[in-house]
């Protein structure tokens, strides 16, 4: 995909306009972003409904009422579940539909983002960024909330890149594969899944941990958007937004 270059109107009321602008978020990124918001919201809430059927977690291959759980919880309240009452059968219908949507849109996004170079250009962490100095500076900036109210800069910083890479390449695929590992039919076909995750009940525990990690990501992500020109950011993720063309390294 070629990059779209747009010259800003002369009356731009911001600082001196940069020479050239490009679309900040490609349409593939925007479409994937919002479909993933929808899928993850529904998967999380229908997942809580499914969890309520047996609100205990174990490590290993087996685990049931007479075994040793590592976590026992109260059932999640109905306002947090889909549907808004206990129905394991219906929650499973919702869960499996949106799981497929999540998985196939992620795959399409990954392929598109390699082709349009989103991964190489925006997410790839360059050698210089791995310098301890840079990482320390970035952590300190975040710790002091120095970014509040700032117009987001040209590229993502180290912490942003790490969070997005973790989410896109570890947490969401982790959700998908721990989910598949709970299917007895898939376990027969892909027995390696059981070895990778250490058994079906471990996969179920990791599924739960990854889900809450994604929820934590969601909270921080939304908080940071709210702290850094939220309407501009929201507009950017809907209509594409504009950002200056970065200098070539």
């Amino acid at each position: 995909m070629s990059r779209t270059e747009i010259h800003p109107p002369a009356s731009a009321d911001q600082q001196p306009p940069p020479a050239a602008m490009r679309v900040k978020h490609a349409w593939t990124t925007r479409l994937w972003h919002w479909l993933t918001v929808l899928s993850l919201a529904i998967l999380f809430m229908s997942g809580l409904n499914i969890f309520n059927a047996h609100p205990m977690l174990y490590w290993g291959s087996y685990g049931a009422n007479y075994d040793q759980p590592w976590l026992v919880l109260e059932r999640f309240p109905h306002w947090a579940t889909i549907p808004g009452y206990y129905s394991l059968a219906d929650a499973r219908l919702w869960h499996f539909f949106f799981a497929s949507l999540l998985a196939f849109t992620l795959l399409a996004f990954m392929i598109a983002s390699l082709i349009n170079r989103h991964v190489q250009r925006d997410l790839h962490i360059r050698k210089s960024e791995w310098a301890a100095q840079n990482i320390k500076r970035d952590l300190a900036r975040h710790a002091r909330f120095e970014f509040v109210g700032e117009t987001p800069r040209k590229g993502y910083n180290w912490l942003q890149k790490i969070s997005y890479i973790l989410t896109i390449f570890i947490l969401i695929p982790g959700m998908i594969f721990t989910g598949i590992a709970m299917s007895p039919a898939m376990d027969a076909n892909w027995t390696w899944l059981l070895d990778v995750f250490g058994g079906r009940q471990s996969a179920r525990s990791l599924h739960f941990i990854f889900a809450w990690s994604l929820f934590a990501f969601f909270l921080v992500h939304v908080a940071l958007v709210l702290l850094t020109r939220p309407l501009m950011q929201l507009r950017g993720m809907i209509s594409g937004g504009r950002k200056p063309v970065e200098e070539r390294a």
Partner: protein, 256 residues
């Protein structure tokens, strides 16, 4: 209206609150909508189609060493059928119990427990996964179902095997389940009469139960009285192929 200006923060906050309220009630409304449920179900149908077409139909579920068995194999669903016929069977130690082959068989008939025990046996230590999320590992011994189907002369027009059970569920309906011929002929699909080297306990389905190791617990019909070969599930119960499928909308394909 107050004359306080609406701040961006307030606007975003109230939009989020109204939005999530609409989202939740919208989801519940959609959940009651038959057309939308059809859309949701398409994913389960797709999973079944993918498992059947891309997966190996004879792939074996993992078998575990005996050392990895659950210390206690819990029961679920019916754990002690209280109807008089079954109680009488317990009292006689299942002496008169038979398994009937009916429906699309050339040689329908019955097997006694002794006859079943005299047939070639398969023993497998496998993981049982309940739809609720828990798992238990146990060692099952029984007759491969395909041997029974062949012995009774299953007909070519049979497409499903329906399992008829002695436990009576809500509404006075005896439990029933069904699988297709691919799962029925799977090498690990057995009619089990032993669990962990002992005769099946009542809570786990005495004296006979189905084991179909690539599906969830509600397929593993207990207290088996008959296997019925049919061409279609339409006339079984309300037509969805199983008790929980009919009364509570569980998916017929329980491979996920």
């Amino acid at each position: 209206m107050s004359d306080q200006p609406i701040t961006r923060r307030k606007l975003l906050g109230s939009t989020a609150a109204v939005g999530s309220g609409l989202f939740l009630s919208g989801c519940d409304m959609l959940n009651e909508n038959e057309a939308f449920r059809g859309v949701l179900r398409s994913a389960t149908d797709l999973n079944f189609a993918v498992h059947r077409s891309l997966g190996s139909r004879a792939a074996l579920a993992r078998e575990f060493p005996i050392s990895e068995r659950s210390p206690f194999f819990r029961g679920n669903g019916t754990q002690a059928p209280d109807n008089p016929a079954y109680q009488a069977a317990i009292a006689s130690d299942f002496a008169g119990w038979t398994l009937e082959a009916r429906g699309l068989f050339d040689r329908p008939g019955r097997w006694t427990l002794d006859q079943l025990r005299a047939m070639p046996q398969r023993t497998q230590t496998t993981r049982h996964d309940c739809v609720e999320g828990w798992s238990a590992i146990g060692t099952w011994t029984g007759v491969p179902l395909h041997m029974l189907l062949d012995q009774a002369g299953i007909r070519r027009d049979a497409r499903y095997i329906v399992f008829r059970c002695a436990d009576v569920m809500g509404g006075g309906i005896p439990y029933y389940e069904s699988i297709d011929m691919i799962d029925a002929r799977h090498p690990q699909t057995i009619i089990a009469h032993r669990l962990n080297e002992e005769p099946l306990p009542v809570r786990n389905g005495a004296p006979l139960r189905l084991r179909v190791e690539t599906q969830l617990g509600y397929k593993q019909a207990k207290y088996l009285q008959a296997i019925e070969a049919v061409a279609s599930l339409e006339d079984i119960g309300q037509g969805k192929g199983g008790y929980w499928e009919d009364v509570a909308n569980y998916a017929w394909y329980a491979g996920i």
